[in-house]
Symmetry: C2
Subunit: 130 residues, 2 copies
């Protein structure tokens, strides 16, 4: 008979990697979404945004497509995106997103903050033994 | 008499920058702390770690020194750091931190995850109009 699993297992390296990746993605997914819509020449719907991220971000940011929707909603609530619903010939109506003027301003600030953080982290990592 | 402030003000660009920076720092501060201790040749106490981060990370990661302690405690709880207290001639006893074997393994994984995320974000940002 197998040993019963202890109620609270020791945290494993893979638990801590999962937690780290989740923390890392919290800010970076918002930035990537805003950047995709900042580069877009017309409103995009969720699936298009997910495909663009998969293509440009090599799939690392995208994960499950469903994970994008809460982030899109948060960016709308913060006034950084606008959205509207349009009927679709192919199926149910689609919600289209576009960046607002406040979103463009935020994007400029976020890109600067991202670059500063990125360079700091890379500079700290350079101290590591190879 | 001044107008009363509305109960729930519209979110501003600076609110959203603050939120973005907070999200970005959640993962990156843990990574930077682990990297500093991964590069250290002997146990370090909080103030030393903060100074090292300020120096190498050009101050962007450090913020307030007090913000490091919860992160150090989390890394200890996850088994990635060990700590012990030593008396100090200069004042109160100091808690020293050092990286564990599990911490070194996690650091290798986190560095790889960081580089993949960083490159994805940078690739998405390249699509932006300059």
């Amino acid at each position: 008979m197998p040993e019963p699993q202890p109620q609270s297992a020791e945290p494993t390296a893979s638990d801590s990697l999962k937690k780290f990746q989740k923390e890392l993605s919290a800010g970076t997914v918002s930035l990537a979404l805003l950047a995709v819509l900042g580069a877009a020449t017309e409103p995009m719907y969720g699936y298009q945004i997910a495909k663009r991220l998969e293509h440009e971000g090599e799939g690392v940011l995208s994960g499950k497509q469903s994970a994008l929707y809460p982030v899109l909603r948060n960016l709308c609530a913060a006034g950084l995106l606008d959205s509207h619903v349009e009927p679709s010939i192919a199926g149910p109506p689609r919600r289209y997103y576009q960046i607002t003027a406040a979103g463009r301003e935020a994007l400029r600030e976020w890109v600067a903050a991202w670059r500063a953080t990125r360079d700091s982290v890379d500079s700290v990592l350079q101290g590591l033994p190879q």
